[in-house]
């Protein structure tokens, strides 16, 4: 399973766009890139998943360069409620290997 590296923490302000980058240099051909969000006292919640190029849904965008050795989660116009830990996962199949995550703090 590919190891991921993310910044430990990030600060932002309401209304700003937040980009969290994850490195996964030894990603395998079959691996997908998935991001989860976790609030205190809750289980992780799926945000977005991609394989290459760009994926967008109603809450986020995921940018994946051609070499797939990194990915960037983009949160448009964050609010205070986006304060959470964001996990980047790389793998194929059902078992999830969580890295350290990025603790995002959104300030007013």
């Amino acid at each position: 399973l590919a190891k991921t590296t993310q910044p430990i923490s990030m600060d932002s302000y309401e209304g700003q766009e937040v980009n969290i980058t994850c490195s996964h240099n030894n990603i395998a051909t079959n691996d997908y890139i998935t991001w989860y969000q976790q609030f205190p006292s809750q289980g992780p919640r799926f945000i977005i998943q991609g394989y290459k190029t760009k994926v967008t849904n109603e809450v986020a965008s995921l940018f994946i360069p051609a070499d797939r050795k990194s990915s960037t989660l983009s949160l448009p116009r964050v609010s205070l409620s986006d304060t959470a830990v964001y996990y980047c996962l790389v793998g194929a199949g059902n078992m999830l290997t969580f890295g350290g995550g990025t603790r995002l703090m959104v300030k007013p």
């Binding site: 006292s41 289980g43 992780p44 998943q49 996990y87 059902n94 999830l96 969580f98 995550g101």
Partner: protein, 114 residues
């Protein structure tokens, strides 16, 4: 959306005792997973539970300490045996509805061992 219910949501237990955590899914799923999240840390997979077979444990976790049951396709239990303060963590179950795209997690069980 998928619903996973965990019970209890939290408990405080005496060292040396055991606690069984229940996980109920609102539909049949092939695989269920148990994770541990120590205070301020990320999630670590404990084991994978398939119905009708023994659970598969990850490195560092053993059946004697964390016995798991999977009696049917909607239910699983994790027991934390002979507890010590080091077992104080949040324990979470999850499933993926047999898809690779998205995993669903319960709200977790916050265990404190005193």
């Amino acid at each position: 959306s998928a619903v996973i219910s965990q019970k209890p949501s939290r408990d405080i237990c005496q060292r040396g005792t055991s606690l069984t955590i229940q996980c109920q899914v609102d539909s049949q799923v092939t695989m269920m997973f148990w994770y541990r999240q120590q205070p301020g840390q990320s999630l670590t997979l404990i084991a994978t539970a398939n119905q009708g077979s023994e659970a598969t444990y990850e490195s560092g976790f053993v059946i004697d300490k964390f016995p798991i049951s999977r009696p049917n396709l909607t239910f699983s239990t994790l027991t934390v045996s002979n507890m010590s303060p080091e077992d104080s963590s949040i324990y979470l179950c999850s499933h993926d509805r047999d898809r690779d795209t998205e995993a669903f997690f319960g709200q977790g069980t916050r265990l404190t061992v005193v």
